[in-house]
Amino acid sequence: MLDSRGMKPSEVAFIQAGGVGESYAALANGAVDAAMIGYPFSLKAKQAGFQLLFRPPDTEYGLYPNATIAARESWLKEPRNRKIAVGFLRAMNEGLHLSKTDATVSKKALRRYTRVQDEATLQSTFEFFQPYFPASLRTIEKAMANAIKFLDHPKAKQLDPKLTFNNSFVEEALR
């Protein structure tokens, strides 16, 4: 957020808070002036009258590999296993499409897995995530590059983001 305006971390005071829930609590009780917080706390903050200052998905900083499908290359190289992976991705692609388009199916799945039963919460959850789910399962290189940037690892700077993912399985699944 600061970097997007050319500001340095030294220009604000960071207070140790914990996770996003604790960050919201710190914002709500006035202990801090601003916070980066996730759903559903961002929704609560908006409802309580706090202002939206920065939305990462609207900027170059927003791409990040939050949820991915992974497998071992040694397993994938077997033709039988490649078929399994492609079949898995075809089903996931259909699930992805429904998560963006079908509130009824989405809420049914959320009810079962998250145990949330409140209709209003389920509907707002569906509406919140709907624009964030991508159009396809193709991994975006910039997302992986951002994740590499955030890693405190001595070899991270030398890692080519292209080597961290393989879209050939998705391409085959989408054919």
Partner: protein, 148 residues
């Protein structure tokens, strides 16, 4: 004639039955139990995997590192996990790779108290230091935590 038709029908049924391959059973580790995993939940709930010859058994894990470790141990071949953990695993020498992504944005917002109208207004103000939020704010420079 009727007997011939019956024999033909029975032969066809046997052939059709033999052609139906058993679905391949596939254990899949996943995390978290939240809307972020919705595409997978839908695929299981609506039996989409069965359409593609798979019988998926979802198994919840408490976090990406556990899923990655289980895949490396050969517990199951496919896992739903965070991309950053895969990258860390790769840097440690594993052959895990990302073959698809179903949520590729940071779903966190920068929220401020009324009176803070712009990011520039944060100069000299206090913000929480949740680890990822700190890194997002300063993708290049590591941040230190300070009291107000």
């Amino acid at each position: 004639m009727r007997l011939a038709c019956l024999v033909a029908l029975l032969a066809f049924s046997a052939t059709a039955y033999a052609g139906q391959a058993e679905p391949i059973k596939l254990t899949v580790g996943y995390s978290p139990i939240s809307a972020a995993t919705l595409p997978f939940f839908i695929a299981v709930e609506e039996r989409l995997f069965q359409k593609h010859g798979l019988e998926v058994v979802p198994v919840f894990f408490g976090g990406s590192p556990l899923i990655n470790a289980a895949m490396m141990a050969g517990e199951f071949p496919i896992g739903l996990t965070g991309g950053a953990g895969i990258i860390s695993s790769q840097l440690a020498g594993s052959d895990l790779t990302v073959i698809g992504s179903y949520l590729q944005v940071l779903t966190i917002d920068g929220m401020a108290r009324p009176g803070i109208k712009s990011i520039e207004d944060l100069k000299g103000k206090k913000v929480p230091s949740a680890a990822l939020a700190r890194r997002l704010i300063s993708p290049v420079f590591p941040c230190s935590t300070r009291a107000a």
